[in-house]
């Protein structure tokens, strides 16, 4: 796996540039040239930020889940670095999706927050990721940390569809949404920037994952090296003061 990272390093610059290009085009088309929505007017433009971030956050969490399974199977420390990177990125993307969602919901639904299944599931996703990242900071042993974190990620991934299902049943029995989001079918002028932003963010995710995984991997190497140096120094000092020598 560390060989793969070295190979992928060559494409790092290209990936970053591609993400920048796609997102710039997507934002320009979305914010400037695309038409306002018939019902929602200019408010709809937040969709070009909100929807891609939400989709990419889910993609990152799916990668985290796959990586966690892979880690438990093969115990590759680089995969653990990848999982850690994916969790951090997914955490921030989910947060952005939640915040932009609340900003969109205020004018569209008349309220900042509603306990609709998607919102509930995203909030739980965010809390699970927060728990995952906190757990990682609290375990010293690298191997145990990776194993326990993988377990939390897998349990969370299995839980999310059930949260969605429960919230859906709960909502449909209590009250229907005041404004359905389903009635919004997209024209080509709106679909193009949305697709560009979505793909752009996916590429950005790949770019961030590469950078962050390398960083975490180097930190891991650095910690190991520091440990070795410390051990050497302690041994030298021990030998210097040892009266038997």
């Amino acid at each position: 796996m560390s060989g793969l990272i070295l190979k992928l390093r060559r494409f790092e610059g290209v990936t970053g540039f591609l993400a920048f290009l796609l997102m710039t085009c997507g934002l320009y088309l979305g914010l400037v040239t695309s038409p306002p929505d018939f019902y929602q007017g200019e408010i709809v433009r937040i969709m070009y930020i909100h929807v891609p971030f939400a989709k990419t956050a889910l993609l990152a969490y799916t990668l985290l889940f796959a990586g966690s399974l892979w880690y438990l199977w093969r115990r590759d420390p680089v995969v653990d670095n990848l999982c850690h990177a994916a969790a951090g990125i997914s955490f921030f993307f989910t947060l952005i999706a939640l915040i932009t969602g609340a900003i969109w919901a205020k004018p569209a639904w008349g309220t900042w927050w509603s306990w609709d299944p998607k919102l509930t599931a995203f909030l739980i996703l965010w809390m699970v990721e927060a728990g995952y990242l906190m757990l990682r900071t609290m375990i010293e042993d690298a191997e145990q940390r990776a194993r326990y974190a993988a377990i939390v990620a897998i349990v969370g991934f299995v839980d999310l569809p059930i949260v969605y299902l429960a919230a859906e049943w709960w909502r449909t029995l209590h009250q229907p949404l005041s404004i359905s989001t389903r009635g919004l079918s997209l024209s080509r002028e709106m679909l193009t920037p949305l697709a560009l932003m979505s793909i752009g963010l996916d590429v950005l995710l790949m770019y961030l994952l590469m950078i962050r995984t390398q960083m975490l991997y180097l930190e891991h190497l650095f910690a190991a090296k520091q440990g070795r140096l410390l051990a050497h120094r302690l041994r030298d000092r021990h030998e210097a003061t040892d009266p038997n020598e």
């Binding site: 728990g131 194993r147 326990y148 377990i151």
Partner: protein
Amino acid sequence: MRSFNLLYWILWKDILSEIRNRAALVSMLFFALNIILIFSVSFSMSDLEEMMPGLIWTAFGFTAVIGLSTSFVAETHNQCLEYYRLLPTPKGMIYLGKLCGNLLFIVIVGLALLPLFVLFLGLHVRQLSWLIAVVFLGALGLANLGTLFSALTVNLRAREVLFPLLLLPLSVPVFIGATEATAGILRGAPQAAYRHWLDLLGIFDLIFTLLSFWMFEWILDE
């Protein structure tokens, strides 16, 4: 067969140690009493009827967190976990043994909560057998994830903080299902009206018993 013996002995050990020091049950019951006290001073009695299912499950949920969070602490004394690692049986059986013990204790506390609610908050119990079934299914859901995360956080510095942070968001389906089913039962609705909530609890319990059974192998791994 040896695996089931192990399950039995772990359960028996937990029951015996609980009979001897009564630490978990007594602390859970007094915690529940405290929550009920807070409820009765912070809500007016007139609109309690509507909120009763939510109050029952809030009290029960937090009480279960208190009991479950310390479930593995006793196993860290005298390197008990090390001995568990050496056992030749599947590690999941240790999980099932601990799960049965935890389930037993929190079901006892859940059933003790109901008379307290009747006494202090004026709960009108209807369809008692179904209410007990909901308490059992909800308790199993909480005990499943609780036992898994209790084993996971037992050696951590901030165990008391992290345990509820991991457990509570993931048990949201249990709280939704159990609260809605309890609401149906207390309204005296026909069984068909809340049947699907029992199904949801059952599905959740089944999935997470199997998943935790499987995951426990990696918790005790070295």
